[in-house]
Amino acid sequence: MADEGEGVSGDWVKVADLDECPPGSLLDLEAGEERIVLANVDGDLYALQNRCSHQDLPLSDGELDGDQLECLYHGARFDLCTGKAMGLPAITPVPTYAVELRGQDIYVKI
């Protein structure tokens, strides 16, 4: 489970059903004004801003590799947990969101 945003205030919003984001998949969705990519790695859920920090292109088109997300367009890599840039050409991190599973509903704090 992704770590909580540290004391960041925000609203928990239901963004998807669990079966919309099965293990090994990425899901592109909107929550309020935010564009989010949900990732499911063997049952663990992560949420990041759906925008590669290298170029304004969707991370949801990419691939999961262990605990990292690789952007389709130029191979930039990010840590799913922290959003940190892990491989060129990514330099700056991608914002992450706290995720919670309540029953079969996926909630994200925005």
């Binding site: 690789e70 952007c71 389709l72 367009y73 130029h74 191979g75 930039a76 890599r77 491989g87 060129l88 050409p89 330099i91 700056t92």
Partner: protein, 471 residues
């Protein structure tokens, strides 16, 4: 054809490297590319499992990425990819003694003046023929200090940890379609490691030669300079003239640790049927300096943008690029600098000449991330048009975050001035001589950085070209 003579002047009308050797490879994959061919290549090289997996994954990425629609016209290449040989093994093994290299190959390189050059006190030499390095040598003085200069395959075999630590971390397979292709079928290239504090005082040189018709050459080079190290690496490329297309898609990854200095010089003079698509990137750490010196004289289409990622404080990156495009040629070249750490500096100088129906395009990137306080970058691109049918383009990308950067970019386009010509001719020069002098003056700031024999070569080329241009 002069033998054992330093490389003479070249004229595109009479491309002097255009000779063809009889094909005598020991192994060649069938034309085209698929998973089996990738496996064959890996098997021939006796690679560890992880490398095979890496290649296969890269193949999938290559197949899924679309052909770029920017840059040059790749439609003809796309249409003939199924006829290209992606791997040609020219001899059984790489040699360390020049005498042991098979005669046909040896003769080729002697015609290109290679052993001569080695005698001229180079630190080391690598020679690649088709898909493999055929010859590699390193002066004992350097190997005793721990310098490693090997074929890339031997780098993987003999220094697996160092290799794996850096390989594909600078240019991931997914970086672009041709990096993915190279990642799948790479063969030949150099592995260079310079230990802490070791500073080579003469250059290392590598030659790349393609002989096979419809050949794809996929050089992969990995260079690591440890703290305080220094070196200069020169790469020269030629190929015979065919009416069918060939292609060279190289990937060069460089890591410069703290306080190191490195210059990578390429003089590319591929024949006019060659597509030259190269990805080059250096990661520059604290107070280190990277210099790319890029001479693009040949090929049908070159797309090549040497890059510097300035990730350590005080890092400096420089790209000097000369491009020459004549009839039927398109040079789409330039450079990229990315400022990540504070107090980094960079400069890009590009000089291009377009003659006849040639087209020369500058394409570059200057990107400054927010943390890169006091980033300073200057880009200057100048284009010279010789004929009214010549074409030039400039496509710079400047992307700056935050107020603490000072960035300048300038580009000019001009032709040879009538007044200048008239003045020189009134001093007794013929029109061709005058034009040649002006063009040489135009590229002089960069040409003077080239190793002597290449500078001589370049000047001869210009002379010959100007002869053909008047009227």
């Amino acid at each position: 054809m002069p033998e054992n003579e330093l490389v003479e002047g070249l004229g595109l009308d009479e491309y002097q490297y255009g000779f063809v050797d009889e094909e005598t490879h020991v192994f060649r994959t069938r034309p085209g590319l698929d998973e089996d061919i990738v496996r064959e290549i890996s098997e021939h090289k006796d690679e560890p499992e992880w490398m095979l997996e890496f290649r296969l994954k890269a193949l999938k990425i290559y197949e899924s990425k679309p052909m770029p629609t920017w840059g040059g016209d790749l439609s003809h290449l796309e249409a003939t990819l199924d006829e290209i040989y992606f791997y040609v093994k020219p001899q059984e093994q790489m040699e360390r003694s020049w005498d042991d290299v098979p005669d046909t190959i040896k003769n080729t390189f002697e015609r290109l003046g290679i052993p001569e050059a080695e005698q001229k006190l180079l630190s080391g030499v690598g020679a690649q023929y088709e898909s493999e390095m055929v010859y590699h040598s390193l002066k004992e003085e350097w190997s005793s200090k721990g310098v490693i200069f090997d074929s890339i395959e031997d780098g993987l075999k003999n220094h697996p940890d160092l290799f794996r630590e850096h390989f594909a971390t600078i240019i991931p397979a997914a970086d672009n379609k041709f990096a993915a292709l190279n990642s799948a079928v790479w063969s030949g290239g150099s592995f260079l490691y310079i230990p802490k504090g070791v500073q080579l005082d003469t250059p290392l040189q590598a030659y790349f030669r393609v002989n096979q018709e419809r050949m794809g050459q996929f050089e992969r080079t990995l260079i690591i300079l440890d703290e305080g190290a220094q070196a200069h690496y020169i790469e020269g490329c030629t190929a015979p003239v065919y009416s069918t297309d060939s292609f060279h898609s190289g990937v060069i990854e460089i890591v410069l640790k703290k306080d190191s200095r490195f210059r990578y010089t390429t003089i590319q003079n591929w024949s006019n049927n060659m597509y030259n698509l190269v990805t080059q990137r250096a990661v520059v750490n604290e107070n280190a300096t990277m210099e790319w010196l890029d001479g693009n004289l040949g090929s049908k289409l070159t797309m090549k943008y040497p890059s510097c990622y300035l990730v350590g404080e005080g890092a400096h990156g420089e790209i000097m690029s000369i491009a020459y495009a004549s009839d039927g040629q398109h040079q789409d070249t330039g450079g990229k600098v990315v400022h990540v750490a504070p107090n980094t500096t960079s400069s890009i100088t590009s000089k291009s000449i377009s003659k006849g129906t040639g087209r020369s395009s500058y394409r570059g990137l200057c990107k400054v991330y927010e943390g890169a306080y006091n980033a300073r970058s200057n880009v200057e691109c100048d284009a010279l048009l010789i004929n009214s049918t010549s074409r030039t383009d400039t496509y710079p990308y400047i992307e700056i975050e935050g107020k603490r950067a000072t960035i300048g970019h300038e580009a000019t386009v001009s032709k040879i001035g009538d007044t200048q010509l008239f003045y020189l001719m009134s001093r007794g020069l013929t029109k061709e001589e005058a034009m040649s002098l002006i063009v040489r003056g135009f590229i002089e700031p960069i040409a003077k950085q080239l190793p002597l024999e290449y500078a001589v070569e370049l000047n001869r080329l210009i002379e010959l070209e100007m002869e053909g241009s008047v009227g």
